[in-house]
Amino acid sequence: MSESKNNKKNWPLWEVFVRSKNGLEHRHFGSLHAADAEMALENARDVYTRRNEGVSIWVVESKNITASNPKDNGELFEPASDKVYRHPTFYDLPDEVKHM
């Protein structure tokens, strides 16, 4: 191994999103390493669509993703859990009214 190993820049990590067919959303498929965006797309094609899994690919460098912190889950997500009035079953209708 070379001496300059420690200050060497390695291929960054990319996240891969694949649309499996038109009409569906892009879904996170996994990650891979690539030197640049073009290579990330090509690698994603070769790694994640070998079995005909996709019709469209997005790649984004992992470091560009901002993620919520699980520590904040209480304040971020729990307040939504008792807002039952956002769901249709909250409302009482007579049985005669069908399909609403």
Partner: protein, 260 residues
């Protein structure tokens, strides 16, 4: 055992033409397959194996067609594994060894650009099967060309080390490219009869396409050489070919006539 021309009789010329095309994919695929497990990164390893798989897929289509045309019953595997070295019609370029990754890329690059132009024309063949194979293959090869050209750019315009290596590989392999555009006998007949591609006409476009990438990759312009290497299309191969075939044919030669 060897498949001699008289096995084919009537369709002999067409079969020879198909072999001239298919052997390039066969031998290039065989070389690419050597890299599997040894690539510079996992991602590149996987990409290169995809190229090998595309090439072998093409080979199977061509050979199955050729086997169908042969009067004496023969299979795709007879054609792939049981000819003598002199009966393989691939160009010298594709049998050159994978000296390092620069040679892998340069070989692929120099062939892909030809392959693309060739298939583009083969789509117009008056032979419906060849035209159909070309239509399917050209999408694969279009991607190969993109892959290898991108890598020529990266290596050419990357570091001084990579530039030197890819330049040397291009310089070493360029003399093998002239042969791509010089028809052998079956190719001449194929052109006359309308099922073959007039390859000589592709050379100018080929040079321009290759040179465009080289210039963008900050590499030297293509040299005009006084001497080129040729022979593969007539079955006169380099010394590398015998070893490649020893590997490839090992099972079929050691255990003749068995099913696998």
């Amino acid at each position: 055992m060897s498949l001699r021309k008289h096995d084919f009789r009537e369709n002999g010329d067409k079969i020879d033409y198909i072999l001239t095309i298919a052997d390039n994919s066969l031998i290039l695929g065989q070389r690419m397959g050597e890299l599997t497990g040894h690539g510079p990164t996992l991602e590149v390893d996987i990409a290169c194996t995809n190229i090998a798989l595309d090439l072998f897929g093409q080979v199977r289509s061509y050979f199955q067609y050729a086997a169908q045309l042969a009067e004496k019953s023969c299979t795709e595997d007879d054609l792939a594994f049981l000819r003598t070295e002199r009966e393989y019609k691939n160009v010298l370029l594709v049998e050159q060894p994978n000296t390092n990754f620069a040679y892998v890329i340069a070989k692929q690059f120099l062939f892909d650009h030809y392959h693309f132009l060739f298939l583009n024309e083969l789509q117009n063949s008056n032979d419906a099967t060849l035209s159909a194979i070309a239509k399917k293959s050209i999408k694969e090869v279009s991607y190969h060309k993109r892959f290898s050209s991108d890598w020529v750019l990266r290596l050419g315009d990357g570091t001084s080390v990579s530039k030197e290596k890819i330049q040397k590989a291009i310089n070493d392999l360029w003399p093998f490219t002239q042969e791509l555009f010089e028809p052998n006998e079956p190719e001449e007949k194929a052109i006359d009869l309308g099922y073959g591609v007039d390859i000589a006409k592709l050379q100018e476009e080929y040079k321009q396409a290759v040179e465009k990438v080289l210039i963008e990759a900050t590499l030297e312009e293509l040299p005009v050489l006084e001497f080129y290497q040729r022979g593969g299309k007539k079955g006169i191969h380099s010394e590398h070919m015998g070893y490649l075939l020893s590997d490839m044919q090992y099972m079929q030669r050691t255990y003749p006539g068995m099913k696998w």
